[in-house]
Amino acid sequence: MGFWESIMAQYADLSAAKQAIPFHIDMLHDFYQSFVEGNRWLLYLKGLGTTFQVTILALIIGVVLGVLVAVVRTMHDQQRVGKRNPLLGAVNAICKIYTTVIRGTPMMVQLLIMYFVIFAGTRNQLGVAMLAFGINSGAYVSEIIRGGIMSVDPGQMEAGRSLGLGYVPVMRFVVIPQAVKAILPSLGNELITLFKETSIVTVIGLVDLTKVAMQIQGRTYQAFMPFIGIALVYLVVVMILTWLLGILERRLRQSDRR
């Protein structure tokens, strides 16, 4: 008889005899049911994979959207007085509405609207979740990037323009690379927030790490092990991300000093 079988047998005997179950037997029994039985740990792993997928895709969408919105908004603000481009004004207004609406409504509500209203016809929860989180993240990232762009010395833009380069190439080759370096800590923070926030995809039924824990709780009636377990997983992943971002930051700083 293996280790787990003996634990389960002891637990069954004790509860059949209506005797007090020792703490460690209880815990091991719960642990077995929550993680080991039926290879349930594989479900957590799959759930974590989904969580990562949503986070990474949302981050990519968010950064692309964020850069576009930030560039439009700074471009609009840097226009010469009296030479405002009406088209840019309109796009800028759209960008402003976008950031206002997205930052002014709860993420969960946005997700529900995306899944049950806008994409009511699809059952592709993963796709909708990525998109909803990407759009949400874009609004926050755009403000971070806008701050970064404004922190770059205006002389850089002037130097680029004085060489005859257009606004967009100077942004692309000169200003944005420097802005990104300046905002890396804030972007890292956004990544970490995003990673944790994805747990609310459960409301549209996507089986991410949190949903797996909820499903297992439903099967085993054990809450302690699944939820503490995933909390630890989230924590460890965040700690690893923080550590990796620290390395990246130090690398980028080194290129300054040389």
């Binding site: 002389g155 130097a159 680029g160 323009r161 060489l163 005859g164 080759f173 000169v174 040389r258």
Partner: protein
């Protein structure tokens, strides 16, 4: 070459340039001096439209660059500019700093631009710095490279905005030497500076600005030996 007519510029209520008309001829080395706040930097920055004039016109080689329909980027490609604070791109190597504009504007292919960059760097004695980053260089080296970066676009005129004001005294010479060399090659130059020695030695015409006006201008020798207006006399008394 550059024709300025009735140029005025105000920031809010503050009138910085007041109805300036001036002409810069090919091959001239015009040196602009004056106290701070006199509008000399603003004047220079208007010439390539880094500042938009409030009124007046600026014509470069027959094209009105203040006309909104003019492709200002195409105009700026023919006018190099050197800044007080160098404004090299810190995220790029020196090679990339120099070749970015020629390659992106389609003036040269990357290989060709790389060769041109090395050739230009050799002229200022910095060819071994081609793979360095700006943060690794001294102020004087940065400014010489900023000059090279502007020259890489093969401009017809070079604008210098206090190119030595942010340098340690011992590095001023190396930058001025490069500018002198450029002047000897016949480049048209407009230089805003506090270096009176440079004005006297290299300038073909010296302008004195104060309060948004060009108060006086003359050939360098006459300018310094026989200043006419009182304001210039007192200014020269203080700086010389």
């Amino acid at each position: 070459m550059i024709d300025v007519k009735h140029l005025s510029k105000s920031f809010g209520d503050h009138l910085v340039l007041d109805d300036i008309s001036e002409h810069i001829y090919p091959g001239e080395k015009v040196v602009v001096i004056g106290p701070s706040g006199s509008g000399k930097s603003t004047f220079l920055r208007c010439l390539n439209l880094l500042e938009t004039p409030s009124s007046g016109t600026i014509t470069f080689d027959g094209t009105d660059i203040t006309d909104p329909k003019t492709d200002i980027n195409a105009m700026r490609r023919q006018m190099g500019m050197v800044f007080q604070h160098f404004n090299l791109f810190p995220n790029m190597t020196i090679r990339k700093n120099i070749t970015l504009a020629p390659v992106q504007t389609g003036l040269m292919k990357q290989a060709e631009a790389d060769e041109a960059a090395v050739a230009l760097l050799r002229r200022v004695g910095l060819e071994e710095k081609v793979d360095a980053y700006p943060a690794q260089l001294s102020g004087g080296q940065k400014q010489r490279i900023a000059i090279v970066r502007a020259l890489a676009m093969k401009p017809k005129v070079m604008l210098f905005d206090e190119p030595t004001s942010a340098l340690d005294p011992e590095m001023v010479g190396e930058v001025l030497d490069v500018m002198k060399q450029l002047a000897d090659e016949g480049m048209t130059m407009v230089v805003v500076t506090h270096e009176m020695g440079f004005a006297r030695e290299v300038g073909s015409r010296v302008l004195f600005m104060d309060g948004g006006h060009i108060m006086e201008q003359n050939k360098p020798y006459e300018f310094f030996a026989h200043p006419q207006c009182e304001r210039l006399k007192s200014f020269l008394d203080k700086v010389l």
